[in-house]
Symmetry: C2
Subunit: 146 residues, 2 copies
């Protein structure tokens, strides 16, 4: 096997290991916000509000799944729906203040965990690793072969 084939093999194995562990540990670490909820809130913050359909398309989730997630986040007081005056089918979702706070808190906690995990890495390696991950995720084709 060439060095390139062997490296692809390793990348597959390690990405799989990571994917398998990720959700469970995310749930243990942040019981107040699942990985999906966290992602959706983050998207809302980044975009400054969007529609449920946009979330579904962007994250390749069924609209019914998003609908229930959104309902739960609204029940929890983390987001609010605003009817689009232009089109009454559309609800534009926005973070509430509570939602912004929880999001910031979980982000801090996740960032601290990653920082600790990556402590001792030389800056040069961190930068390169980050670039590789971005390049991997930006790849075209199937969204993820994991």
């Amino acid at each position: 096997m060439s060095a390139a084939e062997s490296a692809v093999e390793t990348i597959q194995r390690e990405m799989t290991i990571f994917a398998r562990r990720a959700r469970a540990s995310a749930g243990r670490m942040h019981p107040e916000l699942s990985l999906v909820s966290y992602t959706l809130l983050g998207h809302l913050e980044e975009r400054g509000g969007c529609r449920a359909t946009d979330l579904a398309a962007h994250y390749a989730l069924d609209k019914s799944t998003v609908s229930r997630q959104v309902a739960a986040l609204e029940r929890a007081g983390l987001i609010e729906r605003r009817l689009d005056p232009e089109d009454h089918r559309v609800q534009v979702l926005h973070l509430t203040e509570a939602g912004q706070e929880i999001l910031a808190q979980v982000t801090r906690s996740r960032r601290a965990a990653f920082r600790e995990r990556l402590a001792g890495w030389p800056e040069e390696d961190l930068v390169r690793f980050a670039a590789y991950l971005e390049r991997y995720n930006a790849g075209q084709g199937d969204p993820d072969p994991a």
Copy 2:
């Protein structure tokens, strides 16, 4: 923010994106074997058989979860249980021939997907990316801060 902090931020974000996508696409691509089943079969192959309790410990799963996974894999004819003659509480799990075939087939399919995803990467980058992932996953402390 320093370059290192910014890189940690990116690593967190990209690992999260990957983790979120991984399971769904794994299910779509390999409906015959979930990510967990694939991992368990792989472990059995690597070890040449082991106990359900070992699987639970190694993958931080509840023993009841493993018990049901194992039952499903046995129903599907992919593994078999052998009672340990030394200790009648213990069942040693082994891949069947069918299990070996399915595992090999899914491994090939996954490897092809990764190879395609990583097509065009220079060998040097593949090798470095692989090394970073191994280093990340081997890190001590919390199993995964995702």
